[in-house]
Symmetry: C2
Subunit: 328 residues, 2 copies
């Protein structure tokens, strides 16, 4: 069967075809348009690079397109965006890329937009040796400003969901050798691959936050997402807010089949791409929220002190001595 | 001398350093913020890819940074943006990239923003094998909507400035063999290299358009920029507006030293990256505008007919038989 590649199609025809995935009023012009009211737009840009963030073995194009959108929406949510308006897409693709790959990518992109709101506003496509999917997403700032620098000493540190699963899914997909001494349950294997390939975010997070707010005067809370790992997320909050995070190791939510040991703790803390929200709230608010949302866990608190992370169990602090997070 | 490369610096320190090029209120958070009123935002995304759009021989990082912004602002202007708010930057860089290269790129970016307005709103940086600079630029839609599909039969076709110079500059920089039979003037050589490395746009264009408007009821005019070449720009207008462009070859503005011949005509029409505006206006408006702005030339008109380009001098139509524009 003849496989249709981009080199055969040409740039103009490619742009025509991509236009079919866009709303009618946004096609065929130099720029995209966003109608605005008196509000703040929240804007986020994220790129997925072939052989750094993905490859053809680890993820299919439909999941990749969906994930590229989800990673941006996660950042919008972690800033307190109440509504996703849309995205622009900048693609870089090798000339030998098959059209069907691009079509599936766009199907995945539109799947995520259907799930979480927003439309394709515009984009461009260039030739390059490696695939790159750069997405810029636009949301509307809600009533609560979620910011890295808004954590306060005394605040409880919370997280949605469980970490490490995406990293484990990535390693399983890449057939990277795991711990010889443990055998993973089928359930954990399939759940981890699911987390890596088809991550989810929390569109109800902001609504639940507002519903449980004990003091209406509080308009800013500390928050980021764990796209670079739980450790990095807590560290970013601590540095931006200039306070010390004390983590209760026992309260960290782990999957029931997650193995024990330092190696597995490292996958958990430094894995990345889980897209969970990591945030801080005054105690009463934190208690109210974790009662109504069973996906939310209190894992520690912020204290006065130089920006740092400490476990209350001193034996666990050796975990933090080296940070395997290094993308360059 | 030790050259500091990104691999040594690490991603977190790199992000810290890039933060210094940004306004204080935009640093260290997941998203960028744009305050809006009741208006339309004009958004454009453009990527420059190493070995497709640039390489280390053809352009220095400072010029590259400036050009990446200018190419986006050109698209904003061609949609009728009255003010550039700012940009987000998505960089993909090899681990061996020197920090000084990145610093110079940002100096060039800020140079363009100082010239044409706007600030750095945010961005991200990832590792990759080839350098990519993706910029998303934000402007405010002015009173006049400039759109590809707003040309009308009877409209005069106009262009700012002279085409082909950027292509010639690119070829000179890359030592691509030119026509043996012509010797280029020193003036044309340096002007062409200047156009390729340091293109300019027309921030007064919209003001002059409004000032010369003969009929205040006209709110939409046909316009695009010539980033993909003059031919492509006219074709895009003709297709989007569903009419035929008749070009008067004699009226095409050429540099006084531009050589004659089919080869040079092709460089002129298909060159690209000149970032001139190509647009259409009712006759009276066109006359008024070209009188007050000496950089603007009337080069033809739109007529009823299937989307196409024709020269009024039939001998020249063979030029259009093949379009060398092909980025894939």
């Amino acid at each position: 069967m003849h496989k249709e590649i981009l080199e055969d199609i040409g740039e103009k025809e490619l742009i025509n075809r991509l236009g079919k995935f866009m709303p009618k009023n946004q096609i065929s012009d130099d720029c995209a348009l966003i109608k605005t009211k008196n509000e703040k737009l929240v804007v986020n840009t994220d790129s997925l690079v072939e052989n750094v963030h993905f490859n053809d073995i680890t993820i299919c194009p439909q999941d990749l397109g969906r994930k590229a959108v989800v990673s941006n929406i996660s950042d919008l949510l972690s800033s307190g965006s109440k509504k996703t308006l849309g995205i622009t897409i900048s693609l870089i693709l090798p000339a030998r890329t098959e059209w069907i790959w691009v079509e599936k990518l766009y199907k995945g992109i539109n799947k995520a937009l259907k799930e979480y709101g927003g439309i394709i506003l515009g984009g461009d496509c260039s030739k390059g040796n490696e695939k790159v999917i750069s997405i810029t997403a636009f949301g509307i700032q809600g009533e609560l400003e979620l910011r890295r620098n808004a954590c306060k000493p005394g605040d409880i540190i919370l997280t949605t969901g469980i970490h490490g699963l995406s990293k484990l899914g990535f390693m399983i997909k890449n057939k990277i050798k795991l711990d010889n001494n443990v055998s993973l349950s089928e359930r954990l294997i399939s759940k981890s691959v699911e987390h890596f390939c088809r991550p989810h975010v929390y569109p109800n997070f902001l609504k639940n936050l507002l519903q449980t707010r004990s003091n209406k005067k509080i308009r800013r809370i500390g928050c980021t997402d764990s796209s670079d790992g739980l450790f990095q997320a807590i560290q970013d909050l601590a540095i931006a807010s200039n306070c010390k995070a004390i983590i209760n190791y026992e309260k960290i939510p782990k999957d029931m089949d997650w193995p024990e040991g330092d190696k597995w703790d490292k996958y958990y803390f430094f894995g990345g791409e889980d897209y969970e929200l990591v945030f801080s709230l005054p105690k009463k608010w934190a208690n109210n929220l974790s009662k109504i949302d069973k996906n939310i866990y209190e894992i520690g608190y912020f204290a006065i002190g130089k920006p740092a992370i400490e476990f209350n169990d001193n034996n666990k602090n050796k975990l933090l001595e080296e940070s395997p997070f290094k993308h360059f």
